[in-house]
């Protein structure tokens, strides 16, 4: 499960929906893998405004990954001003969001403490009926 996915996941329980603590989910005992993929600079540029930067910062700390800057980069910071090539900032973002993946572990809700297991990169969000 790519780290970018965590930008869009919250606890599945109806009672947690209104609680800010239900996002982001907190990785637990996560084993990570790096899978090299081609950089798509336009894609990164376009999703940047949709990232919850505070949530991303929290995740990098919890996963023991290099810390993110306090503020998200500006669109200009994503390109080398002379060559127009992807900047190191963009490459780092690409590596974090698209190449770093949770292979196994769990995702814990900060509101209700329920843990969703992750196996082979796939999270199980099915809830027993009494928890829905």
């Amino acid at each position: 499960m790519k780290i970018l996915t965590l930008n869009f996941l919250c606890c599945a329980r109806k009672t947690c929906k209104s609680s800010p603590a239900s996002f982001p989910l907190h990785p637990k005992e996560a084993s990570l893998e790096q899978i090299e993929t081609d950089i798509n600079a336009l894609f990164i540029k376009n999703i940047l405004p949709r990232l919850d930067w505070e949530a991303m910062k929290t995740l990098t700390i919890e996963l023991g990954l290099p810390a993110l800057p306090t503020e998200p980069p500006s669109p200009e910071a994503l390109e080398d001003p002379d060559s127009g090539e992807p900047s190191q900032t963009l490459k780092d973002l690409h590596q974090l969001l698209m190449e770093t993946s949770i292979e196994s572990g769990a995702l814990r809700c900060g509101n209700c403490d329920h843990e969703y297991a992750v196996k082979e990169g796939i999270a199980n969000f099915l809830l027993p009926s009494h928890m829905v």
């Binding site: 970018l4 996915t5 869009f8 996941l9 798509n40 336009l42 894609f43 540029k45 376009n46 999703i47 949709r50 969000f125 099915l126 009926s129």
Partner: protein, 186 residues
Amino acid sequence: MSVEEPNSYEEQHVHSVYEEIAPHFSSTRYKPWPIIESYLQNLLSGSIGLDIGCGNGKYLAVNKEIFIIGSDSIAVIHHLSTPARRIEAVASILECLKSTGTALLYVWALEQESSRRGWSEGDDQDVMVPWVMRKKGEGERTFQRYYHLYRKGELEADVISAGGEVVESGYEKDNWWVIANRGSPS
């Protein structure tokens, strides 16, 4: 159609069937359908989407300019056994959309005379569809899956009942499809 409690009906006639046939089912699902492929290819770079009922994930990588999160729980619209449950499913999907977002819904059609199964307008809409699996050393086993076959116009009506708006609709390869948005508050 009157059914015993929908949850247990679907558990028996959809969920447990797919538990058994999943690997075989997956091996037959690899080629993207034209309407779905063009819908995905026409999205802007950086679009985020959900594939609800993604199966083996065959649509997740169709357009590398977008990011699709897949979820698979078998509870797709045409496997739900009551009108209320189907409308609720459509409403849940539309709820995921921004005001500018769209959803492509794709369901089995009643009107498919030219298909192998040959259903048509006069037939019952709630049917059991066989799935034949041949396992080495076990011979042939046939499973029956519950489907609600959608009639012309019915999916549009479900979208409206769910509070959404129909952007476009049509028929492709024995399926009715609708592109919907979440509708404006009235």
